[in-house]
Amino acid sequence: MSLRPWRVALLHVCVVVMIGVLTFPLILLGFNSLKSEVEIFDAPLGIPKAPTLANFRSVMLGTTFSVNMRNSFIVAVSTVLLAVVVTAPAGYAMSRFRFRGRTLFSMWLLATQSFPGIIMVLGLFTVLTVYGLVDRLPGLIMMHTSFSMPFSIWLLKGYFDKIPVELEEAARIDGCSRLGSLVRVVFPLSVPGLLAVATFSLLLSWNEFFFALVVMRSNVNYTLPVYLARFVGSGGVVQWGPLSAAALLATLPVLLLFLLGQRYLVSGLTGGAIK
């Protein structure tokens, strides 16, 4: 099929406009982070005329930003590691073994998607209080791990389904132990799936707001989303320059990692988790 030139041109115009709408707000954030408070409202759409790093300086030196960034980092990295370690064996079991309660377990995993945050947080508060984990990072790490688990297990099950059992059998006939065939044959083949889980968990944990808002009580324990939301003063007064600088710093590292890992996440979602 070939298209007439004007239709090809129209296609490109439409795509550029839609991609523009999807990316321009982030570019706007970048502009604002380099502008003075006056310029932000004098020329809300313009390229910064006198770019300044003053906003970044005031955020780094005048607020708890670096501490909150460190918190976000600790929580996200721990969540990713825990999620991979816990969900990889579970996904393997879901793919390889037929046990009683397997369907029930699948249904439970799928159903957790719909549990309202308010109910979970009220219940979790009781658990965290018992273990003295309110306002502490380990409590948040546990919560984020549990949110990432259902989807991750489901995604990995899809990956393991695609690795033929015969490969494992061949390895065992060649003298591998059961564990050996897992480590030497199955694990290397499932790396793309593990990267998908890592990308998904990283995004989930780094961006999660509601539970962090409720459970973290002191400034120095906030993660970045809570820090950013608290930036808007009680009177609704906002310093947009510094806020944009902080929001940009809170966004870029994970955006870059996501763009590297999205390939695995997308193929994991469309190959195993959803189809």
Binding site: M18, L22, L122, K275
Partner: protein, 294 residues
Amino acid sequence: MPSSSTISRWPGGEGRRALPFLLPALVVLCMVSLYPLVQGVSRVFYSYRALARQDVFSGWENFTLLLSDPTFSAAFLNSIVWTATSVAGMFLFGYALATMLNSKHLRFRRFFRTASLVPWALPGVVISLIWRYIFLPNGPLNAVLGSLGLRGPEWLTNPSLALWTCVIATVWMGTPFVTVMLLAGLQSLEPELLEAAAIDGASYIQSQVHVIMPSMRKMILIVLTLETIWTFNSFDIVFVLTKGGPGSASMTLPLYAYQNAFMYYQAGYGAAIGVVILSVLLLAVVFYIREVLR
């Protein structure tokens, strides 16, 4: 091919072998998912009493209070309107974009596909803050309208516009996921399918509605259900953008539940709102499970 090896083809129950693999996941899920759910739901039968300074058993009181609470009915209605329009918007834009990104006439396809994912990676709070700035009375949107000779309204504080600002931000945030899923669906279609439709003289719209959409039925249904669940449950955008205001013009159920539980110390009342959310979503979930396990 029948195989005699021990790992193959699962005869009967293999619970004992599966258990060590599942145990860590089961322990975490029981502690952080099953127990909190039961515990959280049980809160609906308790109310805070100032006199006793603690939660006391109150039976169905929280639910009867819900029925006569005008803010609750406003939030319920807003939630339905907000979810329905947002999901419809995401689907419309996502479907259009996926179709265009799938076209073999498009140049720089890889670049555009990657760029379309950007909103997916941004924290909900950052997305809300950006849109809050865009919608300011002296912000960029009204600057554009002003240069066209129009006087832009006060988007965030106008009762008939506030909810729609939340819809716009939500559509923006959800479009990448829909796009990427539908694009994968389109790529898995047989090219002969479309050529056959074209040869039969089907118009563009006809082949979309009668050929492409039916063959992606399962993918479309799952994406729509997931987005419905996520949007109905979501909190960040309304919390940062409008705080439910002005008045309760853009109040949604998750935000109202949060306010009751953590600002007015009515945890039981908040939990009751949560149970209402759960009951609505249970319908969606049953549908979702049936489609996925089919």
